[in-house]
Symmetry: C2
Subunit: 217 residues, 2 copies
């Protein structure tokens, strides 16, 4: 398995629940983390709250300083942010965990995405980066709750670059209870993103924070 | 959990690997099964092979005789077959397990479906039936291999009719090791069908017959 100690992970949108939760767990695992946000002040406040050596900066500074970047911003701001960070993200492994979802009276549903998926939009906007997709299905509530020592979930890692998906799998494996599993090429990211709508429906029905495990692997 | 003993399950496309495998496991669980096929002779031959009281008939006779119908035909014939069975399927619970997939040099990928998903196409063609979607991710290889006593997989059951999804969950629970889990409304079926492309990619990478489990439920 790829060694991920020594990496610096930047989390764009790191003040939101998913990014902040993963930042917390990586920091606890001894990985250096920079929280990124539109506001450097909010990023610094979140970093101080997390402790464990986490630092905070605006998204641009975070993207420039990190070795690997997790994109955990709301779908609404996804395209504009990534288009603005093309230089800072050149040559880097980018992990997209964004789920383009809508909600109405009947609950969650997947939004259509012109490029096919958030991850494929990232790939188009960042042609010189190594774009992967992962961490869509991890419960932010469980990530934030340190009384849960083991996360009990697999993380599907998608991408067309074997070295990149192996490294991202290593970042999943670094969190206790989590396991990174290769999940297919980036063109198959849509259904992984959209499946988050099903998990939300499951959570509502069962009053749970569902994740998935892949069997026979 | 809904009692499913006493039901007769018809399997349209029951001579294909997915339908035949589920027919085998239901028959072993004491549920009456009719294998349907375009050719009554092929259906009867498959039924004789399976034993355990399974019978075979053409798809139309099967749809008319069964209480609950599993649609396990190739995607290419899905729409035409269901359009022809509207009368026979009136008022019945229909379980769609069809995955509209394509394959090229880069492996499997999800096909676009005008109605959103195979299950939603079924719903449009069968407005007087109770359409659900389930059993997409169950390995046909494992189903056929009776040395595997426990299937070790959850079955996501989607649909807008609670009584129908509960009954289909019961049909999953009837197979040892399998568990039926409510997976959302029918409008969220596309990603569940399409996710089969990811499982095939996983199977190729890991030389496995992957399934999924939902955690925290």
């Amino acid at each position: 398995m790829t060694d991920v100690t020594g990496l610096t992970v930047g989390v764009l949108g790191g003040t939101g629940p998913q990014g902040k939760g993963l930042a917390l767990r990586w920091a606890k695992a001894g990985i250096k983390v920079i929280i990124g946000s539109r506001s450097a002040e909010r990023a610094e406040a979140a970093a101080t709250e997390l402790g464990d050596g986490v630092t905070g900066a605006d998204n641009t500074t975070t993207a420039a300083a990190a070795d690997v970047v997790l994109v955990a911003v709301p779908w609404e701001g996804h395209g504009d942010l990534l288009a603005s960070l093309r230089e800072q993200l050149r040559g880097k492994i980018v992990i997209d965990c964004v789920n383009p979802l809508g909600f109405d009276k009947q609950g969650p549903f997947a939004l259509p995405v012109e490029e096919g998926s958030a991850a494929q939009q990232a790939e188009q906007l960042l042609p010189e980066s190594r774009v992967t997709a992962a961490f869509h299905h991890v419960s932010a509530v469980h990530l934030a709750d340190l009384s849960i020592a083991e996360m009990d979930t697999d993380v599907l890692v998608l991408g067309d670059d074997r070295e990149a998906t192996d490294l991202v799998r290593g970042l999943a494996d670094a969190i206790p209870g989590m396991r990174g599993v290769y999940g297919g090429r980036l063109r198959n990211a849509h259904q992984v993103e959209a499946f988050t709508a099903n998990l939300i429906a499951i959570n509502r029905r069962y009053k749970a924070h569902a994740g998935i495990r892949v069997t026979d692997v």
